[in-house]
Amino acid sequence: MSVVGHAPPPFFKRGPAPLVRLAFFVSLSLTLLIADLRFHTLEWARLAVATIAWPLQRATWVPIDAAGDFQSSLLKENENLRRGKLGTANLLLRQQHLEQENKRLRALLDMRARQPVEGRIAEILYAARDPFSRRVIIDKGIQHGIRAGQAVVDDVGVIGQVARVFPLIAEVLLLTDKDQAIPVEVQRNGLRAVLAGAGAGMMELRFLAANAEVQVGDVLVTSGLDGVYLPGLPVARVVKVDRDSAYSFARITCAPLAGVERHGLALVLGERTALPPRPDDVLSTVEQPSRGKRVKKKARP
């Protein structure tokens, strides 16, 4: 190796020049960046490195765990109770929606058998260090039967979706991440829409006409159209509706109902059985996103 900007005399053999090495490593990094950002082809490498790094990661928490051990037994009991409550919260969450649904007699029209829900309680270990995305790490992984694409809820509503699984942990992409989109409906009137993360802990209802019937305070629940989320899970509340006639779409800001940015326990819902395949049509040649959750960024209204 030779020092940048100071070429050694030619009789010292010190390998390629610094600029050559820089060009090599930069092009290698850029290749990796593009391969990961555009084609998502590096998951196997990530899995391998993450498996090796896991014991180290665990080791760094020892001091933090030791600090946590000071908590009293009452706090622990509290924790256990909350854990139990979370197991049943899943059913409670959907009850409100079912009542609404009965009121509108929709159940009479479409008596599709509701799928039974099972879930697995996971603890949110920490928020991922990456400041550009909203992800948390949970303490369940491939070994516990977690698969990418499963929905994650807490006792109030939806938190997000499992984005990556490692043997013992999994990454959950939060609803407030800019890459995350979730199909919802307005609980009051059943208006369907797509809710996307807007960063800074907020979300945005996209592609609704400026005169769409949405009010401040409306509760949005999952519509279940994507085959990932069960219908009727509370997601967000509308906090601001901006109807600017200069744009064809209304700008509707929503705040998540669940403790998306808080830590604690979460419930990873089991995978839904797949919806029946779409009938063939002209659009069938368009490539469908593999898990139906990562919606590519579209132009803002």
Binding site: V3, L22, L33, A50, I64, A128, D130, G199
Partner: protein, 173 residues
């Protein structure tokens, strides 16, 4: 080798295993989950920049690339983001190494601060082009804490190289 070029103190030669150990410990420090707390320095970048300035023949872009890949995985960020930033940081720090050691430590910190900020800008550009959200201005605070830590880190990492203090009257070095 001296702590700074204007110092009269002569250092022992550095041991390779010590460089590897400190880089590894910095990686461990980076694994501590602080979440989105602003102002936590990037320890790997700090230690890497230090060794690139002090030992540019031993630590360089290859080390930066390898450490960057490890950080990309444990950080849940995009593969290549830290690798690219660390490679550029190592290049810039090595380019600075002949000059910056003439300055006292406080001014050295001022020299490396733009390097850390540049590294963060590279990461920002890589991710914003990929459509990620802006992490907020406070995120850049970690560069400033890293620059503030330059002084203590210099002493910490040079401890094994300091000669014993006992003076030899016959060999006044």
């Amino acid at each position: 080798m001296q702590p700074t070029h204007s110092s009269r103190r002569i250092l022992l030669p550095v041991r390779n295993w010590f460089i590897a150990l400190t880089l590894f410990l910095a990686l461990l420090l980076n694994l501590i989950p602080f979440g989105r707390l602003p102002g936590i320095p990037d320890w790997v970048a700090l230690v890497l920049a230090f060794w690139c300035v002090h030992q540019p023949l031993k630590v360089g872009m290859a080390a930066g690339f390898a450490l960057g890949l490890a950080m990309d995985v444990v950080d849940a960020s995009v593969m290549g983001q830290h690798a690219l930033a660390y490679v550029l940081l190592a290049f810039a720090a090595a380019g600075l190494s002949r000059r910056v050691l003439w300055f006292p430590l406080a001014q050295q910190a001022l020299h490396v601060l733009p390097l850390f900020l540049g590294m963060q800008l590279v990461m920002l550009a890589a991710r914003m082009l990929g459509g990620a959200e802006f992490p907020g201005v406070l995120w850049f605070l970690s560069s400033f804490t890293a620059a503030l830590l330059w002084h203590p880190v210099t002493y910490l990492l040079l401890i094994p190289q300091f000669r014993p203090e006992d003076k030899d009257v016959h060999r006044p070095i």
